[in-house]
């Protein structure tokens, strides 16, 4: 997991706004990167750190909403805060429906933006922790032998060794052995812990 500082990306075609936002966010100790167009942002290589995107709705070329859609399609998960100098309701509804964190109308109060940014970063941070945890559990699960991978779901379902043995057509002693290894490899200290792990792994694996 990365220990890098959180970073805020700003995309706004207006120099005044761009500079001002960078100035404000820097003043609360955040790292800031600014872009004049959506394309510039797409070309930028983002660091492995919690981040969020402050995005003007109206941009030359790709619009803010286009960019939001593209990010979603590319499964790039980054919290988006929208800004507009002339917000209309359908547009804000569209943005919020597409998962925007916040929709700010210029000129907005600095605290509103800072709150929104902080919330977005917190959310991203939490999401990254969850991702990392899932990845770790996934790799543990993948370290299980195929037979152990078969045994684990049955253990989690609460079946007794005898029942698992009947299910898999093997002996109870063998099941007991597999079960021990599953607990050991998954680093689970109790059945309850193993159940929680299995839920998390299942969530991160499609199907």
């Amino acid at each position: 997991m990365s220990v890098e500082q959180p970073e805020v990306f700003i995309v706004d075609d207006d120099l005044s706004v761009r500079d001002a936002l960078k100035n404000l966010l820097r003043s609360v100790g955040l790292r800031v990167e600014v872009f004049a167009t959506a394309q510039e942002f797409l070309n930028f290589r983002r660091p492995d750190a919690p981040c969020c995107l402050v995005l003007d709705v109206r941009l030359p070329g790709l619009s803010g909403l286009d960019l939001q859609r593209m990010l979603a399609e590319a499964r790039i998960r980054i919290p988006v805060i929208f800004m507009t100098a002339h917000g209309d309701i359908p547009m804000s509804v569209r943005a919020m429906k597409a998962g925007a964190m916040e929709f700010l109308t210029k000129p907005f109060r600095d605290q509103d933006l800072l709150d929104a940014v902080q919330q977005a970063l917190d959310r991203d941070r939490a999401a990254r922790v969850r991702d990392a945890e899932r990845a770790e559990l996934r790799s543990r699960f993948e370290s299980l032998s195929p037979r152990e991978q078969e045994v684990m779901p049955l253990v989690v379902q609460g079946l007794l060794n005898k029942q698992i043995a009947a299910e898999l057509g093997t002996s109870e002693a063998t099941v007991k052995l597999h079960r021990g290894r599953v607990m050991q490899k998954m680093q689970a200290e109790s059945l309850a812990q193993l159940i929680r792990m299995s839920e998390k792994v299942a969530v991160s694996v499609p199907d």
């Binding site: 207006d14 005044s16 706004v17 500079d19 001002a20 936002l21 100035n23 404000l24 820097r26 003043s27 609360v28 109206r58 941009l59 030359p60 070329g61 100098a85 002339h86 917000g87 209309d88 309701i89 804000s92 509804v93 919020m96 929709f103 109308t105 210029k106 000129p107 907005f108 109060r109 600095d110 933006l113």
Partner: protein
């Protein structure tokens, strides 16, 4: 004789012996003489047993006979003797003696037949028999009969005896109860035919005859229930039992009957039957209700809820087949397994369920909400009311529960909450000012973000009420409507709250102490609480300040236009699409010889009979330049026409130009301007000179036309101001946002320990830059909307290009046009009018953007500038505007600069012509050429220079 005497004596003594031996009686001879004296000649000894008096005493004294008889019997005896003596009839009488020894009364029967003797006396030889025992027996019998009758009468039952006499019923006897029921005297009916008592109907008699015949037929008692009306007319139910008693004294069959009164019992039975019927109906109703009700009803049949049934809705709710046990507490696998019960996400045990609790505790459970989660994941939110069922001892013996599915209700509640949240967001995001008055007196009014930031310039939550208590209002302002200042209670929010009615939208002006004026279109609606009392109001306002500005500009422009047309020497006529005249100027009145009033509303066609061509032929109205311009959409000029001036009685010759006007986006003209000059002063002899003059005059007309064009351009520009308002708001907002945000950042940098002064300084620089930018935008707007005199000042053309690009930026974004600036470094300055040159550039930019409107691919617009050396060596600046639009035909490249030539639907063909006028006025030139690939490039060059040529 002696023998005869002897024989007689012997016979007498035998008789006496015989009579002395008569048991219980005596033989006597009683004699009454002619004189009426009576004697007892003889009486046997048996009399002493009867009377206690020796027989000799009766013979000695006749008075002893009467003395011995009870006084009340004496007269009867005397009368009987007298009758018997007179008629010589047999005499028989019962009399009572008083025994003179024992004092008891004894009965004797005296019997004898009288014999008349020859001496006239009458003699009775008779027998007296003691009949006391017989009398006593008779009396005992009578007494017992009385007792029997008393019994008969005293019994509650009705009894009686009747006989059948030749097909009729005869009352023999009945007891009192029967008589009461019949309403007759008991004794009066005895021996009467039933039909004659007046108490029985014919039908009833036939019924009873039936009873008796049945009884005769079977030889058995017969019973039957029947009903009849009693003496009071009340219906009585009776149970009759009849039995055959043998034949009566007259040989008729005799019957005894007994009647039991069943009326009360019947009444009770009937009441019972009715109550039963009601109960059954109620039970059926209840059952139907259970079947039909959409509410799920559960019935527990024991306090532990081991068995629970339910109505169809209950089975449907739990997805269990009919007839199955619905209790989660049911023993031995009977309990339903297809769902779980949860409360607040936690599984609850069966004993916690409301019906179980009610049945176990004997207390009702009200409004218990929980969730039913089925195996397929479907979740129902339900609420349950349960009451225990109690037995006679007050112990619980089960319960009834009613469960309602409130899932949809819950979802609706959530949806309403979500909508409320959305509404809140919408209100804050709305580009409309919204104020809410929180009380009927409007003491506290707050606004949404737009109202606070853009109208009032207050902070979120500030009270902006004009009626706020002293010290609580965050802002003061004066409100005007139609120029009249309003009191707080006349403001829409207060009017709506005071009247409880919506206030229609009207225009208001708010003037703030700092001199700022905001024009608003305000409408208000009252807010009501649940009891329909006014609790405040909502006021919505649209900022129409920019529109107001635009309207003012338009009004001024119109006024200028009118002044110009009024002072022109040329005639100007303004007509509608149908040719009707809207306005004419004084010059036109003079030339045509007609007044305004005569001409307004008249069409060119109608006045055409007064017009001739140069060769004297009539000028058809349809060919009048105004009508041609309207029909073709083309402008015309130099058309010569003779018009008859009725004042002068002569034709005046005019040279006419007609200009059609188009609304944006429309291809048919909606109005036409006709401008004409009086060219009457021509002389055939001086034709050469006249022609020269004519040409000059044509030029003058064109000049006039050009002036009109310029004026029209300004009108159009004035109209555009309104549309540009949004663009301007956007343009100004950006630097303003920058200023505000930088100021906040600067404050934060300053607040650090130690303060980051370098950052503060940078922030201030940016604030100054953004502030200047905002100021420049505002200045440009003012310059653009004001009609300044053209000036010649040294200009940096790149700066003009950038300003124009900024100005068009909003529109270009909207049209998704990408604008690229390729500005050459170190351009020489040019002398010119900034506003006019901006107009040229804006024109070219917007033309380019419009030309690309139908492009599917990228919409690229490039503005390039560079220094240029003219062929004669003079330095100039070249500007190119390149688009990738549809382009135009090569033969049109020259014509596009002609006034009123247009290739765009809805264009009025003025932009490029104005642009050419401006460029040429600056000593430059402008032209267009199609690009190699696609689109068009328009170029202009302006001579360099920083000083006005001498």
């Amino acid at each position: 004789m002696a023998r005869a005497q002897e024989a007689l004596q012997e016979s007498e003594s035998r008789l006496r012996a015989l009579s002395d031996n008569v048991p219980d009686g005596a033989i006597y001879r009683y004699r009454v003489d002619v004189d009426g004296t009576s004697h007892v000649d003889f009486i046997s000894a048996g009399i002493e047993r009867l009377t206690g008096m020796p027989a000799a005493e009766f013979v000695r004294d006749i008075a002893n006979v009467e003395r011995n008889i009870l006084p009340e019997d004496r007269d009867r005896l005397r009368a009987a003797i007298a009758a018997s003596r007179e008629h010589l009839t047999r005499f028989e009488i019962e009399v009572r003696h008083t025994h003179c020894v024992t004092g008891e009364t004894r009965w004797s029967l005296l019997r004898s037949t009288p014999v008349r003797c020859p001496d006239g006396s009458t003699t009775w030889d008779g027998l007296e028999i003691d009949i006391t025992e017989q009398k006593r027996a008779e009396e005992a019998l009578r007494e017992s009969e009385t007792k029997l009758r008393n019994f008969f009468d005293s019994a509650g039952v009705m009894r009686g005896i009747q006989e059948l006499v030749g097909g009729r019923i005869l009352h023999v006897r009945c007891n009192e109860a029967v008589a009461t029921m019949l309403g007759v005297e008991r004794d009066s009916v005895s021996g009467k035919l039933a039909a004659d008592t007046g108490a029985n109907s014919k039908d009833l008699e036939l019924l009873w005859i039936g009873f008796y015949q049945e009884c005769l037929r079977t030889g058995q008692p017969f019973s039957r229930e029947y009903s009849r009306r009693d003496a009071k007319g009340q219906e009585r139910w009776l149970h009759a039992t009849v039995c055959y008693l043998g034949t009566g004294s007259s040989g008729n069959p005799r019957f005894g009957y007994t009647l039991l009164d069943l009326t009360e019992r019947k009444r009770v039975e009937e009441a019972l039957r009715q109550s039963e019927r009601r109960e059954r109906a109620r039970a059926a109703e209840l059952e139907a209700l259970m079947e039909a009700t959409p509410a799920a009803i559960f019935i527990a049949h024991d306090a532990e809820c081991r068995s629970m049934t339910g109505n169809p809705a209950a089975h449907a709710l739990l997805q269990r087949p009919a007839g199955t046990n619905l209790s989660k507490s049911a023993p031995g696998g009977e309990a339903p397994q297809n769902f779980r019960t949860l409360k607040d996400g936690v599984e609850i045990s069966p004993s916690e369920l409301p019906l179980q609790k009610a049945a176990a505790s004997g207390k009702p459970v009200r409004n218990y909400a929980f969730d039913i989660v089925f195996d397929d994941g479907v979740t129902l939110n339900v609420t349950c009311d349960a009451v225990p069922l109690l037995d006679e001892e007050g112990r619980s013996c089960g319960g009834v529960g009613v469960m309602s599915d409130v899932t949809e209700l819950q979802q609706t509640v959530n949806e309403v909450k979500r909508l409320a949240g959305e509404l809140h967001a919408v209100v804050d995001a709305a580009p409309v000012a919204i104020w809410i008055a929180h009380d009927p007196q409007c003491l506290r009014i707050t606004g949404n973000a737009y109202a606070d930031q853009l109208v009032m310039q207050t902070k979120d939550g500030d009270n902006v009420s004009a009626s706020a208590p002293p010290g609580q209002a965050a802002v003061t302002y004066a409100a005007f409507r139609n120029g009249v200042q309003l009191r707080p209670e006349e403001l829409p929010n207060q009017v709506a709250a005071a009247t409880g009615r919506p206030v229609k939208e009207e225009e208001f002006a708010l003037v703030f102490p700092e001199g700022r004026t905001v024009h608003l279109l305000l409408g208000a609606t009252p807010l009501f609480d649940a009891q329909a009392r006014v609790r405040g109001s909502v006021t919505a306002g649209v900022d129409i300040t920019w529109r107001k500005e635009a309207e003012r500009a338009l009004r001024e422009s119109e006024a200028r236009h009118r002044l110009l047309s009024d002072t022109m020497l040329q005639g100007v006529v303004h007509q509608n699409a149908d040719g009707s005249i809207i306005s004419i100027n004084p010059a036109a009145e003079r030339i045509l010889g007609k007044t305004r009033d005569e001409l307004l509303g008249v069409t060119s066609v109608q006045i055409a009979h007064d017009s001739i061509r140069e060769d004297g032929s009539p000028f058809p109205g349809a060919e009048h330049p105004a009508m041609v311009a309207l029909r073709t959409g083309q402008k015309l000029h130099g058309v010569v026409m003779g018009v008859f001036n009725p004042r002068e009685g002569a034709y005046r010759w005019i040279s006419i130009a007609a200009v059609p006007l188009f609304r944006p986006g429309e291809t048919a003209p909606f109005q036409v301007y006709t401008v004409f000059e009086d060219i009457t002063e021509r002389n055939a002899a001086e034709k050469q000179r006249q022609e020269l003059l004519a040409r000059e005059r044509t030029l003058a007309v064109e000049r006039a036309l050009r002036e009109t064009e310029a004026e029209l351009a300004r009108v159009a520009r004035g109209l555009a101001v309104g549309e540009m308002a949004t663009s301007i708001a956007h343009e100004v907002n950006q630097p303003l946002a920058g200023v505000i945000t930088n100021a906040e950042a600067a404050r934060r940098w300053l607040a650090m320990r130690p303060p980051e002064l370098g950052e503060v300084s940078d922030s201030l620089d940016m604030i100054v830059r953004d502030g200047n930018r905002a100021a420049a935008i505002i200045r440009r707007i003012r310059e653009f909307t004001a009609k300044g005199t053209p000036s010649r000042v040294p200009l940096d053309l790149d700066e003009v290009i950038r300003e124009s690009a900024d100005f068009a930026n909003h529109d270009l974004l909207k049209r998704r046009v990408n604008l690229r600036l390729e500005l050459g470094a170190g351009l020489p300055q040019v002398l010119g009018d900034r506003i006019q040159l901006q107009q040229v550039l804006l024109n070219l930019i917007m033309n380019g953007a419009e030309a690309m409107a139908s492009n599917d691919g990228p919409k690229e617009l490039t503005i390039a500038s560079q220094p240029w050396s003219e062929a004669d060596g003079r330095l100039s600046v070249r500007v190119e505007v390149r688009d990738s639009g549809d382009g135009i035909r090569i033969e049109d490249t020259r014509r596009i600069f002609d006034a009123f030539f247009t290739t765009k639907p809805g264009g009025i063909g003025m932009g490029l012509s104005i642009s050419r006028s401006i460029v040429e006025a600056h000593g430059g030139r402008i032209w267009a050429a199609p690009n190699n690939d696609r689109g068009l490039t328009v170029q202009f060059r302006l001579p360099a220079g920083s000083e006005e040529p001498a």
